[in-house]
């Protein structure tokens, strides 16, 4: 699970995240939402050890990220919006490289079914340059899942994917949660979050506006129990929804 207590991050005098606390249990998928500049990416980066927080504590599967960063990172996987791959390594060589970094002794036994499940078994000798955007994303996922992480972070996971890729990604996230992982997902696509997430955390200007199950958040900010997350989001952040596009006259 992920436990965050009093997390804060300042860039000089500017507070990007302020006193943020939340927890995500195994099997839960938490959507991290907020307008631009709300502190979503900063929160993700602090939680994954990419940047040091100014204050607060993050525990990954029970391991304190500040006290034992290596131990904590062994239990997490982070998927950025754009898959970052090595041009000169094939699909299989990427997995070999990752296996060595994470010390996955039985990587061959794990990688084969992983590639098969991601429909990449026939691509093992191909370079990233030969793969489509969706295939690259799958390779990044295969690399991230090779060490069986308990905590998984996704940053805008649907960027650049086609409809089939989007569906597959959503299925993957749901499956990972079903298998017991705690998942945090940052995205602007509220309808997708509504489909995938069990919980949601709304941020604005670095502060937590709301956190809880989807139903709880909907109930808190809207009058109708069947209102959409989008409606709840705009109520919570008090932002006017997008106006209809103005088309040129005939």
């Amino acid at each position: 699970m992920i436990e965050v207590h009093g997390l804060s991050k300042h860039y000089g005098d500017f507070p990007a995240v302020r006193d943020l606390s939340f927890a995500v249990q195994p099997g839960e998928v938490m959507g991290l939402v907020g307008p631009n500049g709300a502190g979503k990416t900063t929160t993700l980066r602090c939680c994954t050890g990419v940047i040091p927080p100014t204050g607060g504590a993050v525990r990954i599967a029970g391991v304190d990220l500040a006290a034992d960063p290596v131990g904590a990172k062994r239990r997490l996987a982070f998927f950025p919006d754009e898959p970052r791959l090595f041009d000169y390594l094939t699909v299989w060589q990427h997995l070999v490289f990752v296996a060595r970094l994470y010390g996955v002794a039985d990587y061959a036994a794990r990688a084969q079914p992983l590639l098969a499940e991601l429909e990449m078994a026939d691509k093992r000798d191909q370079l990233p340059g030969e793969l489509s955007r969706g295939m690259k994303q799958k390779l990044a996922i295969a690399c991230g899942l090779l060490h069986a992480p308990r905590v998984i972070f996704f940053d805008e996971p649907l960027t650049g994917l086609d409809p089939a890729g989007i569906r597959r990604m959503k299925d993957t996230m749901r499956r990972l949660a079903r298998e017991g992982a705690a998942v945090i997902l940052s995205s602007h696509l509220l309808s997708m979050l509504e489909e995938v997430c069990t919980h949601v955390l709304i941020l604005k200007q670095g502060e937590k506006l709301a956190a809880g199950s989807l139903a709880e958040v909907r109930r808190r900010f809207t009058e109708h129990p069947d209102a959409s997350l989008e409606e709840a989001f705009f109520k919570a952040t008090e932002t006017a929804p997008a106006v209809p596009p103005v088309l040129p006259g005939p």
Partner: protein, 586 residues
């Protein structure tokens, strides 16, 4: 030309200049500009201009060997470009436009010929700037006679002709493709014709102009006369006439010769212009594709990803088997060696080294060619120094690549020192491999030249082993400097990725200066530690090479300690490194 295109060109130029001037408000650009300008003035202008102005007395006569070298260099550029254009290039007819130009100009009501003119005018900006720089460079190294202005005009004619030839050749290739000549068939026909012509030429020259015997270094001076005799042997003067005409203004020693040479050169240039303009082939589709690829390349380079210049298309074998268990740094070495290419894989490198050393042995066995070993030996020293300095500077790009993936790299379960050591390993291994080969070359050439092979190789080899011990820690420290610069001054290093400008050049010079200072400070303790054993062994054994070995052992131990401390220190910095300034916040 269409007024809108002229407006586009001039406005873009004016805005680019304004942007450059505006960024001088930042001190690092201003300081960079001052340093860059001072460098260009003292290195090029101060030496070049007094000889370059016409009417300041006759220019110095060109040195014979220098002229041959210069001719060879310029001819190699031309021939290489032409051979590439006609034989190797597989590209379709394409003109280099930016993606924005494609988006705005191609659907616009602009004639095809206007587009070609626009492209030619645009390329002239680059060519004029290149001609000026090359003229300064060619004048700086006093190999040639003539005036700076003649050189500038000569470079302009040469570069413009080569540019037009490239475009014309691509148009002709497209025409051949349309007629059913596949690239493979064209390569076989043109390459075969060229190979046949060269073989016939070699046979013809051998029968008419005997090569000079080269028993000693002094005999090398006969080669310029030999090459002149070859160039005068019919039919070569006719075949080479267009090349000679184009190069005529460049090598003109005085104003009268320059003016006489100008006519034929401009004729060749004009003929190329007409050729390009009259070629009616469709270049639009390939140009769109080219613009897209250029856009991707530029984006990759701006992001610091120099690999964006060429993406691999084939799977590469692995340098060694990477087992899943074990420490992490070798995994970085494994990955980076794959990226460097198979030349540096242990087995391939050993085979290459053996082949080079065997080749040198064969060269030394021939009385005719043995003097060339002196040239090889003399060239090895500057090359080894260059490798030691230049390769670590290239690490800056590797560090940029690391920054590109920093958000993923920082989530790896590794200590900072493991990442730093891993990233340093591959440049250290590459430098060490090259330097050890060069040391072996020096030892073997020394042995062969003194004709006391065993004794000299043994003696030189002893010293070479000593120096070889120093190479890995020195290379490690040198590669650590750009790494440290990137971690401690990320803004400054990010600026160095910008491709052009005197201010950016100045910043690179400041960086190189700081690099040298840090390096000297790092080497000082090792030099002090090496001095004692060196002097002691020299006094006791009286052998220079043994003394070098003893000093090198002591020095390398100190350097290895320094390197370990630096890796540990940089590792700590890596762990605390805050990406906030490198990555966009949201």
């Amino acid at each position: 030309m269409n007024g809108a295109l002229l407006y586009l060109q001039l406005t873009a130029l004016r805005n680019a200049v304004r942007q450059r001037l505006r960024r001088l408000r930042e001190p690092r650009y201003l300081i960079g500009l001052v340093v860059g300008t001072a460098y260009v003035y003292f290195f090029f202008f101060r030496r070049a201009m007094p000889r370059g102005y016409p009417g300041r007395g006759p220019a110095a006569p060109p040195a014979e060997v220098g002229l041959v070298l210069a001719l060879g260099f310029v001819a190699a550029i031309m021939v290489g470009r032409i051979v590439y254009a006609w034989i190797f290039s597989a590209d379709r007819a394409a003109l280099a436009f930016t993606e924005a130009e494609v988006a705005f100009l191609f659907p616009a009501p602009v004639a095809r010929r206007t587009l070609v003119h626009f492209k030619l005018l645009k390329s002239q900006l680059r060519i004029l700037f290149s001609a000026l720089l090359l003229a300064l460079l060619s004048n700086r190294f006093s190999l040639l006679g003539g005036s700076a202005w003649a050189h500038a005009a000569g470079w302009w004619i040469l570069l413009s002709t080569v540019e037009l030839h490239g475009i014309g050749a691509s148009f002709t290739r497209q025409r051949l493709l349309d007629l059913g000549f596949r690239p493979g068939l064209r390569r076989v026909l043109f390459g075969g014709a060229l190979a046949l012509a060269l073989a016939a030429l070699a046979w013809w020259v051998r029968g008419h102009v005997p090569a000079p015997a080269t028993a000693t270094m002094r005999d090398l001076a006969r080669w310029p006369a030999y090459l002149r005799a070859v160039a005068a042997l019919p039919p070569l003067p006719w075949v080479l006439a267009p090349f000679r005409w184009v190069l005529g203004p460049f090598f003109a020693a005085d104003a009268a010769t320059f003016l006489r040479a100008l006519g034929p050169a401009l004729f060749v240039l004009g003929a190329h212009y007409v050729w390009v303009l009259r070629a009616e082939v469709s270049f639009e589709e390939a140009s769109i594709d080219l613009a897209r690829r250029r856009g991707e390349r530029i984006a990759a380079v701006r992001a610091g990803g120099w690999r964006g210049l060429s993406r691999p298309t084939r799977r590469r074998s692995e340098p060694f088997v990477l087992r899943p268990a074990g420490s992490a740094p070798p995994a970085f070495l494994w990955r980076n060696l794959i990226a460097s290419g198979p030349w540096f894989y242990p087995r391939n490198w050993l085979l290459l080294s053996a082949a080079i050393l065997a080749g040198l042995g064969l060269l030394g066995a021939s009385p005719t060619y043995r003097p060339w070993l002196t040239v090889v030996q003399a060239a090895t020293f500057p090359v080894s120094i260059w490798v030691l300095f230049a390769v670590p500077m290239l690490l800056r790009r590797q560090v940029n690549l690391l920054f590109e993936r920093l958000d993923v790299m920082k989530t790896l379960p590794l200590r900072g020192w493991q990442v730093v050591l891993g990233e340093l390993l591959s440049p250290v291994v590459l430098i060490t491999a090259i330097e050890w080969l060069l040391l072996a070359v020096i030892a073997v050439t020394a042995g062969t030249l003194t004709r006391n092979v065993f004794n000299t190789v043994w003696l030189t080899g002893l010293g070479a082993v000593g120096i070889a011990l120093l190479v890995p820690p020195v290379a490690g420290l040198m590669t650590a400097v750009p790494f440290a610069a990137a971690l401690f001054f990320p803004d400054w290093v990010a600026t160095l990725n910008q491709p052009r400008g005197m201010d950016v050049m100045g910043q690179r010079l400041i960086f190189a200066g700081g690099y040298l200072v840090v390096l000297i400070l790092a080497l000082l303790p090792a030099a002090l530690a090496a001095a004692g054993p060196f002097l002691l062994v020299r006094w006791l054994a009286g052998m220079w090479s043994a003394a070098v070995l003893a000093g090198a052992v002591a020095g390398s131990l100190v350097l290895a300690g320094e390197l370990a401390a630096v890796v540990w220190w940089l590792g700590g910095r890596w762990e605390r490194f805050d990406l906030s300034r490198e990555l966009p916040q949201s």
